[in-house]
């Protein structure tokens, strides 16, 4: 308590500093409910991919597009947006992501008593879970996606093998139920395993899915039979897991397969051919080997925008000292990268009507990565289709969204340059007729910088050794690209050790060693991997053994 009062003046002071900022943020949304009618006057209207109309105006009324065209009159009650230098597009549609689903905290799971028969939630078998019940319009991902121009997300729960059902949401800021467009619109499958319990491998996952699917098939058939005449028949199985798969068995909803790698795509096809269901391939990164098959079987395909970045050249490295072997290795790697970058244009040439998917791409990279694909041969109109009309068709909502046409829902993106121009910036986004102004970009780098480095800070750690658990703190700071690490041992000696040879090149991973004074100056290697507010990893103390380490972020660094 004393501490609190001591800090209170400081708190007051910081609030007063922050207040103008908060007020300003409020201001940007200020003209609320003055009128629900907008008049976008004299725009360059890209009503659908490839259709560019100059000098067109758009009337938005009650959440819908009331009128578009060159000679549209300004309604008396409308708020006017002068559009002379602006471009208007249909709001983008995201057919596959976790938008609006808050990621569950990485809680420590109690060790399963019988790893072969874990509870469904531990095993990751949650087909009865529905994104509609989890969607949170105030989750920051909603605003982020909206800021990137998206008006609709088809969102799925976080999870493992069977994470649950997708639902379609408008990315407005109203209550979840108001934002819901369609519930339980798809079932999902991922080659994601549950660590340490069944199914813990992809072969386990595939076997388990066959089992569930066959049970759902015979359960559905039996239920039909039971409905006709239940006399003398045992009651049908009421297991939620199997019942949730009935719509997949009866093909009333598709099964979305998260299939990034070429082998995942193959495995997805294998399961489909064996069991027979409507399949959507989602988040495909490396699907070009299957382009012809996808085309021939007319498989709905969502291409990942998570594309490989070129390796950042280390400017300090000696450029003269490159061996032939390394040179050819790098050449081959670059050729491989080209395959990833040209996948979208290959699919376009084959006439596959793909959309993009967004589960594994940072929202801030979406437009940059689309531009990269365009540089590698994807046409701009196809890219726009992959953002609008294609996902609308895939989700079965093309009568209400995907283009700027009279009668459609007023989801719009307004930019100051053509959308795929390097310098293009989104000025406004409309979601169901509600206008969102995009904040000035000057503040953005600050935010992204903080986000880009989740490792920095003070962390408490525990190493479980056969004797006493070792506890202490790890303090990580970053200047430029270089991490500095201090390990504060609180168990043995209350000594601070400097981290040596700190390597944080891999995202969310950090390795280093310390030279301790323990037991004859033992060198201890740390290898940590961070996720959100937790980390796990290993420490190796030479002859003293190798142990698991875990820890969590300390909320306020100690001074």
């Amino acid at each position: 308590m004393r501490g609190l009062t001591r800090f209170f003046p400081v708190l007051m002071w910081s609030v007063s500093i922050l207040c103008p900022v908060l007020l300003k943020a409020q201001n940007s949304d200020a003209p609320k409910n003055v009128s629900n009618t907008y008049f976008l006057k004299n725009c360059t209207l890209v009503s659908q991919p490839g259709v560019i109309n100059r000098g067109h105006s758009v009337i938005i009324r009650d959440g819908l597009i009331a009128e578009t065209g060159p000679g549209v009159r300004q309604p008396f009650d409308a708020q006017v947006i002068s559009c002379d230098s602006l471009y208007v597009y249909a709001g983008f549609i995201d057919p596959y992501s976790n938008t609006g689903i808050t990621k569950p905290e990485n809680k420590e799971r109690p060790k399963a008593k019988d790893p072969g028969n874990p509870p469904s939630d531990v095993a990751g078998i949650m087909p009865d879970l529905n994104a509609a019940t989890l969607f949170n319009p105030s989750d920051k991902s909603v605003e982020e996606m909206r800021s990137a121009g998206f008006g609709i997300s088809h969102t799925l729960p976080h999870g493992l093998m069977l994470p649950g059902q997708s639902s379609i949401f408008l990315l407005g800021d109203g209550p979840a139920d108001r934002m819901l467009v369609r519930t339980a619109s798809a079932q999902n499958f991922q080659f994601e395993v549950s660590r340490g319990v069944y199914p813990s491998t992809i072969i386990g996952v595939m076997a388990k899915f066959r089992d569930l699917f066959k049970n759902a098939s015979q359960g559905l058939a039996y239920e039909e039979k039971y409905k006709i005449n239940p006399a003398g028949l045992p009651r049908p199985d009421q297991s939620r897991e199997t019942k949730a798969l009935y719509p997949v068995v009866s093909k009333s909803v598709p099964l979305y397969f998260l299939a990034q790698h070429t082998k995942d795509v193959h495995r997805a096809f294998a399961m489909k051919e064996e069991l027979g269901f409507d399949m959507v391939l989602a988040e495909v990164r490396q699907g070009w080997h299957y382009a012809d098959k996808i085309k021939a079987q007319n498989i709905t395909t969502l291409l990942s925008l998570n594309i490989p970045e070129p390796e950042k050249k280390d400017s300090t490295a000696k450029t003269t000292d490159v061996s032939k072997e390394k040179e050819s290795f790098e050449k081959k790697r670059e050729e491989s990268r080209q395959n990833y970058l040209t996948q979208a244009s290959l699919f376009e040439k084959k006439g596959i009507r793909f959309a993009f998917s967004y589960k594994n791409v940072k929202t801030g990279d979406i437009h940059k990565n689309i531009r990269t694909l365009i540089k590698n041969g994807l046409s701009e109109s196809y890219a726009l289709a992959a953002l609008t009309t294609h996902p609308a068709t895939i989700l079965g909502i093309s009568s209400m969204a995907g283009t700027v046409e009279k009668g459609k829902i007023a989801n719009l993106v307004i930019t100051d340059k053509p959308i795929f121009d390097e310098k293009s910036r989104i000025k406004h986004v409309f979601v169901e007729g509600k206008k969102y102004d995009m904040a000035s970009q000057s503040k953005k780098p600050e935010v992204t910088k903080e986000k880009a480095d989740p490792i920095s800070g003070t962390w408490s750690y525990t190493v479980e050794t056969p004797e006493t658990p070792q506890k202490g703190k790890i303090i990580i700071s970053k200047s430029g690209e270089i991490y500095k690490v201090t390990v504060k041992d609180e168990t043995n000696s209350a000594t601070d050790y400097e981290g040596v040879d700190v390597s944080g090149k891999e995202k969310n991973k950090l390795s280093f060693y310390i030279n301790t004074s323990l037991d004859g100056n033992v060198k201890v290697d740390f290898s940590l991997s961070f996720e959100d507010k937790l980390f796990t990893g290993s420490v190796n103390a030479g002859h003293l053994g190798s142990y698991e380490i875990k820890g969590e972020k300390v909320a306020k660094p100690e001074n």
């Binding site: 491998t201 790697r333 390597s503 290993s538 698991e548």
Partner: protein
């Protein structure tokens, strides 16, 4: 620029033999070691449509065949490895003592460079096995080494019977009894796991029978695990059982006898020499290491004469690798039986050709140089049982998949576009000699030893 690199990619693809159609071949003037039909000096082999069309002296050379001059070289059947874990992404689903329903065939990895390495040792077929963490592990997949393809199905050997991995002794006990405090915690417990599983499967089969007859109104819950066990009981799946100790080997034969199962291949079977007559009487086969033991307590009592003793007692015996490295020189492993046991050339070569083919149920198709069989051939400079033997060319289904004369430095089919290091580092996981238990350390230790190794090596590479 784009077009340019695409053209290069295309070139690259053409270079890989995956897309090469089976070309007819005439291998001329070789010392042919047929394994089943004796040796033939200055002999030719005609290969058409991926099959061996003819073996004999002075064969007429048809038009449009590729001629391979094998003067001074030896040609033997493509080597077969009855126990390996290459070409698959998963080895162990080690979470339950019985996981009959899983199948490593679901996790084939045609991009695994180990396949090429095996080809470079003359190996054309291998038995990609589930590991030995569970008493009843998963189903295995017999693969042909058609390296160069990206399609996992291309590896599957058509017509090869289904097989499944069983395991006795320390591995299942350690994984389940010691780590998870469930059974099997003892060798007795392992036996009971088999008996329970088969008994359960019988009940399951009866329930379905009753349902089909209309005695039972509702269908029983479908279980892929029970379905698979039922297929074992019905003789549709061959058992390959990880084993060391003689007492346990006898135990499993008793269990199988009780449940009417008569086909089993014992893997490792280091104490097989103690029960060789019993194995022969049962009709069981044995797949052994040439001289590898003492890597854990239950493997202390062993001998390099194992393969010879088993062979002389009439047990169909093979020598296997269980390793992505050993698979590269199985011909040397086979030759060791001549030092330890005086096996004839033909007997020694049978250990890595026709005998493993019999154990995998594919001896009608491969395992010897005979008319009508698949054109899976290995060409050697020096007799393959000589310490100076060097594989020259390996042919699978009539397609040359390895040729020492055009053996590129980098044979990766799939290149990670953000990979920092070359292939050597990708394969470090295999450093753990006990490949059978791959994937289990992760379960036991959470942070796997393999990851740790990778980390260590990546650090070393940086400096």
């Amino acid at each position: 620029m784009i077009r340019n690199s695409k053209a290069k990619n295309l070139l690259l693809l053409i270079c890989l033999p995956a897309l090469a159609a089976a070309q007819d071949l005439l291998i001329k003037n070789a010392s042919v070691l047929t394994v089943t039909k004796g040796n033939c000096q200055n002999c030719d082999i005609l290969v058409t449509g991926g099959k061996i069309a003819e073996v004999g002296k002075g064969l007429r050379q048809p038009a449009n065949v590729r001629v391979i001059d094998a003067t001074g070289l030896y040609v033997m059947p493509g080597i077969i490895d009855a126990h390996s874990h290459i070409g698959i992404d998963v080895v162990n689903e080690g979470t339950n003592p019985v996981t009959a329903e899983v199948n490593v065939g679901d996790a084939l990895n045609p991009l695994d460079v180990s396949i090429y390495r095996a080809l470079a040792g003359g190996v054309t077929t291998s038995h990609a096995m589930h590991g030995s963490a569970n008493a009843i592990g998963g189903q295995c997949q017999t693969i042909k080494h058609r390296y160069g393809t990206t399609n996992p199905d291309d590896l599957k050997m058509a017509g090869a019977p289904r097989t499944i991995k069983f395991a006795l002794g320390e591995n299942p006990i350690r994984t389940h009894g010691e780590s998870n405090k469930i059974w099997p915690a003892t060798r007795m417990g392992v036996e009971q796991v088999f008996r329970n599983a088969f008994s359960e499967a019988r009940i399951y089969m009866k329930e379905w029978e009753d349902h089909k007859k209309g005695i039972r109104k509702s269908p029983p819950a479908y279980s892929l695990r029970m379905e698979t066990l039922a297929d074992i009981l019905n003789g549709k799946i061959l058992i390959h059982c990880h084993s060391y100790r003689a007492d346990e080997i006898l135990m499993l034969m008793n269990v199988l006898r009780d449940f009417g199962i008569n086909k089993v291949c014992f893997q490792h079977v280091n104490e097989g020499f103690k029960v060789a007559p019993e194995l022969a009487a049962f009709g069981a086969t044995a797949s052994v290491f040439a001289d590898w033991w003492a890597y854990k307590f239950e493997v202390y009592y062993s001998t390099a004469y194992n393969a010879a003793i088993l062979t002389r007692n009439g047990v169909v015996t093979s020598i296997n690798s269980d390793s992505g490295e050993l698979i590269r020189h199985l011909y040397h492993e086979a030759a060791k039986t001549q030092r330890y046991g005086d096996l004839t050339d033909e007997e020694a070569l049978a250990l890595i050709t026709i005998n493993p083919a019999i154990q995998l149920g594919i001896d009608k198709m491969v395992g010897s140089v005979e008319k009508g069989k698949d054109a899976d051939l290995a060409i050697f400079k020096g007799h393959p049982l000589s310490v100076y033997a060097i594989p020259q060319m390996t042919i699978v289904d009539g397609i040359v998949r390895f040729d020492i004369k055009s053996d590129p430095d980098d044979v990766r089919v799939d290149v990670n576009p953000t990979e920092k290091y070359s292939t050597y580092f990708e394969s470090l996981e295999d450093l753990d000699h006990n490949a059978c238990m791959r994937g289990v350390s992760e379960l036991l230790m959470q942070e796997s030893h393999a990851q740790y190794l990778r980390y260590r090596y990546s650090k070393q590479h940086q400096h």
